[in-house]
């Protein structure tokens, strides 16, 4: 028997064994439910943890590796374009991880004396997700940026 024939025989047999229509419907239902639970109301999270409404902005940069297998220590760099003067500076960057068991990650605060609103650190991620950075400017404006990393190992266990 050739190798190709063995490989093709296995899926066919397993389908025959496990394909009652009822179980197929159950699996489909579970999938739909998961997809629904994955829909995150980001605006509501921002209202809850930051307070207010954030406008998406290209001035807020969230740099993370595309893939980082270990969710315990994911590198994160945040940078907000700002002159950092007394009249116009970034007061705080709020970081949220919507799919972590505890959603707020940290708040980083600056002053005009910081020179630039930029920092690097390492965070824990439970699963692949968009990390949200909400920059609060000195006039109270909220600007939103995002980054994402594919994580294989739950860093919150």
């Amino acid at each position: 028997m050739s190798r190709a024939r063995v490989v093709s025989a296995i899926p066919r047999r397993s389908i025959l064994r496990s394909a009652p229509i009822a179980s197929f419907a159950l699996v489909t239902g579970a999938f739909l439910q998961t997809a629904h639970a994955d829909a995150i109301d980001e605006a509501a999270l921002i209202r809850q943890f930051v307070g207010g409404t954030a406008t998406p902005s290209s001035r807020v940069h969230v740099q993370m590796p595309k893939i980082f297998s270990n969710g315990y220590s994911v590198p994160l760099t945040l940078f907000v374009e700002s002159p950092m003067t007394e009249a116009d500076y970034v007061r705080t960057i709020h970081v949220l991880a919507p799919k972590n068991p505890i959603i707020p990650v940290a708040n980083f605060s600056f002053s005009p004396q910081s020179g630039q609103a930029k920092l690097s650190t390492r965070i824990r991620l439970a699963q692949t997700q968009d990390v949200l950075a909400i920059a609060e400017m000195n006039d109270g404006t909220l600007l939103l940026g995002r980054g994402s990393t594919q994580v294989d190992v739950d860093g919150c266990k």
Partner: protein, 109 residues
């Protein structure tokens, strides 16, 4: 936090007006309160929840941290040089213990 050695990496001498990088690391498990021990009991939360950097007495950078900060918290951030003096860093753990570190900074005109 008696045995913990915080570390800082920053220039000794900077030019007035220069924006320079400060890097810090402190050894700490950052226990989230989500993990269980071998007996199945929850290990209580114990994290460093606050980090502050003061430059000549004024706060220039701070972090208020939750459970999602990785163990051995590391930061890189920036400070604009004004006058000679010092950078004072402090870390506060749950329960109130504080670790701190001071580094002199010389600013040249």
């Amino acid at each position: 936090m008696p045995s913990i050695q915080p570390r800082i990496q920053a220039p000794d001498i900077v030019a007035k007006g220069e924006v320079f990088e400060v890097r810090t690391l402190i050894t700490h498990p950052m226990e989230t309160g989500l993990r269980k021990n071998a007996a199945g009991e929850t290990i209580p939360r114990k994290i460093i929840h606050a980090f502050r950097c003061h430059y000549n007495g004024a706060e220039v950078f701070s972090a208020d941290m939750h459970e999602a900060m990785s163990e051995n918290p590391y930061f890189s951030f920036y400070v604009r040089a004004a006058e000679s003096g010092s950078l004072k860093l402090s870390w506060e753990e749950d329960g109130g213990a504080v670790a701190s570190l001071e580094k002199p900074l010389k600013v040249e005109a």
